[in-house]
């Protein structure tokens, strides 16, 4: 069975999905498996979202991997902060700063979108005093395109 639909995605364009359901029936029993394939425009936005996992001095750090299997065919055009705070970001051995207002940076233009990202931000005065208000995730927004062939 095949279906095509749009899923609204906050912070992104709505995501167009092809949905395939493989179903096997034997007697009165059925097993099925559903696979959704995202259709990504040649240029589109996508977010890197990472859980915060360490504090170094007064710096909050979220480090992790943007799925290498799903996103290995895409490269970066530009990146901006989606966390409403100033971020220092390290990716593909390139460090760059992103301002809290969401201005775009071209520091990673042409580098692979997938792989390890490290997102850092200074703790606020209030967060230094009360660790329970420290955000659980940091997020950046990337404009990406498929690798040029």
């Amino acid at each position: 069975m095949y279906d095509q639909k749009k899923i609204s995605r906050p912070g992104n364009d709505s995501l167009e999905v092809l949905e395939f359901t493989l179903s096997v029936e034997k007697g009165k029993k059925e097993k099925h498996i559903k696979r959704q394939v995202s259709l990504v425009q040649n240029e589109s936005t996508n977010n890197v979202v990472l859980a915060t996992n360490t504090i170094n001095g007064d710096t909050l750090i979220a480090e992790g991997i943007k799925d290498t299997a799903l996103w290995s065919n895409f490269e970066i055009i530009s990146v901006s902060s989606a966390s409403r705070r100033t971020l220092l970001v390290l990716h593909a051995n390139i460090p760059a700063s992103l301002d809290s207002l969401g201005a775009t940076s071209n520091a990673w233009e042409g580098t692979p979108y997938s792989g390890t990202w490290k997102i850092m931000t200074p703790l606020t005065e209030a967060e230094r005093k009360d660790s329970t208000i420290i955000p659980g995730q940091l997020e950046i927004k990337a404009l990406i395109r498929s690798f040029k062939k």
């Binding site: 069975m1 359901t21 099925h32 696979r35 977010n47 915060t52 660790s131």
Partner: protein, 435 residues
């Protein structure tokens, strides 16, 4: 007690569909409830159909720890790891609409929705332990657990509810639709083989016909378990994933109809519908940090309760359409039973200790003074479908079916007493036909 669904999965829609509702369910926008996996956010979504799922979802203690995702920086459970646990355990490619994040709308769970809107929803009811079926069920029926995970094992159940009821001369009965879960506790086998464990088919006729002195004061109702051996075409209805939900909805409806069939008895009834644990489905509320160490040799320490489960209290003593925000877990039922049957005497030291940690009794839901007749449950067909859209729950219409119906009605008319003994389920069937 049903199996393996979270609060948001079954009842999160109450808030989403009615933003004025007082229930702590899902609120728009749903991006407030993201899960994080491999750098990507996943959001709750409305499951498109009530079909059997691809997989059962992970809900063992280590998977639950991943799901609750303790953030070491701020010390909070983020509840952002349900997709990650699913990917780790199933090895499946994660769809943008990832199964653990699916929820049902009101039309897909019409009976649960009806009961929630007409009685009392408990939106702070957590399973006692952040782990799987066996430890949580054991906590529910004894207030303690010797085990911390589910495995191929027979289980000890010290301070169990049945022994407590026997000791306190409380009349009780279990109605089981298939093999009861209690078969996993060898010390309960004499009870299971006694008349106090009775087939579910008798529930309705017993409720309507039984003479007062014999009536049990406590009834435990067991669904037909997905995991238990079955012969023939009997379909499991415990709501354990990957089951479609329609079978369980029908079971809950039949049970509600049976419990409310005798209006005199209903006036003194408290029916508690709850789930053993969340079954791997997403819930957004972090459980409170109430610790518990399992008893026995290999003691294991849990630092919190487990995720929220759907809990609804049905009774003339609850305010219709009310919401209970008090902290509850399965031992709240044991607390309540002790309050009713052994006033001034607690169920056990462990249950007492949980009470002292802030876990309330079911009594917290009983806030009504006006006894009302029970509302009639919706009667629509509950249409479970295959993945390809074929109905699997509605029998074909035809002469043969009509002939069966005609013969059954005549048999009931001519031999009511014998039918009540031999085919008790037909009493409920007849009464529903007449409505």
């Amino acid at each position: 007690m049903m199996e393996n669904r979270s609060f948001d999965h079954m009842l999160g829609h109450l808030k989403l569909e009615d933003p004025t509702s007082d229930v702590n369910g899902l609120s728009a926008p749903l991006e407030n409830y993201n899960n994080i996996y491999n750098g990507t956010s996943y959001y709750p979504f409305n499951l498109p159909h009530d079909v059997e799922l691809d997989f059962d979802l992970p809900h063992e203690y280590d998977a639950v720890a991943t799901q609750m995702m303790l953030n070491k920086v701020n010390g909070k459970y983020s509840m952002q790891g349900f997709v990650e646990a699913y990917a780790n355990v199933t090895g499946a490619v994660v769809n943008p609409e990832c199964t653990p994040m699916g929820y049902f709308n009101s039309a897909q769970v019409p009976i649960t929705d009806f009961l929630a809107k007409n009685f009392c929803v408990c939106d702070q009811w957590f399973c006692p332990l952040p782990t799987s079926t066996q430890p949580n069920k054991t906590m529910a029926f004894s207030g303690d657990s010797n085990i911390y995970k589910t495995k191929t094992q027979l289980i000890g159940i010290p301070n169990n509810l049945f022994g407590w009821m026997n000791k306190n001369s409380i009349r009780w009965r279990v109605y089981h639709d298939g093999l009861p879960f209690f078969i996993l506790y060898p010390e309960l086998w004499p009870d299971i083989l006694s008349d106090q464990f009775r087939r579910y088919e008798y529930l309705y006729s017993d409720m309507t016909q039984e003479a007062d002195p014999n009536k049990p004061q406590v009834i435990i109702i067991e669904p037909c378990y997905e995991d238990a051996p079955r012969l023939g075409s009997k379909h499991p209805n415990d709501n354990h994933a990957p089951l479609a939900i329609g079978w369980g909805e029908d079971f809950i409806r039949r049970t509600y109809q049976a419990i409310t069939a005798n209006e005199m008895q209903w006036q003194n009834t408290v029916m508690i519908l709850y789930y053993d644990e969340h079954g791997g489905f997403y819930d957004h509320v972090a459980p409170p940090r109430i610790s518990y160490q399992t008893k026995g040799k290999d003691a294991y320490s849990f630092e919190s309760l487990g995720p929220r489960i759907p809990g609804i209290v049905l009774s003339p003593f609850v305010k219709p359409g009310s919401v209970c925000h008090e902290l509850l877990d399965h031992t709240s039922v044991l607390q309540f039973l002790a309050e009713v049957f052994t006033p001034g005497q607690s169920y056990s030291p462990s249950v007492d200790s949980r009470k002292n940690s802030g876990i309330m009794s079911i009594n917290a839901t009983l806030m009504n003074d006006i006894v009302l007749n029970p509302p009639l449950a919706p009667m629509m067909a509950l249409d479970v479908q295959t993945a390809l859209g074929k109905s699997v729950s509605v029998a074909p219409q035809g002469d043969m079916q009509l002939a069966f119906q005609q013969a059954t009605l005549q048999l009931l008319q001519n031999n009511p007493a014998e039918v009540a003994t031999k085919f008790p389920e037909l009493i409920q069937w007849r009464d529903l036909q007449a409505q």
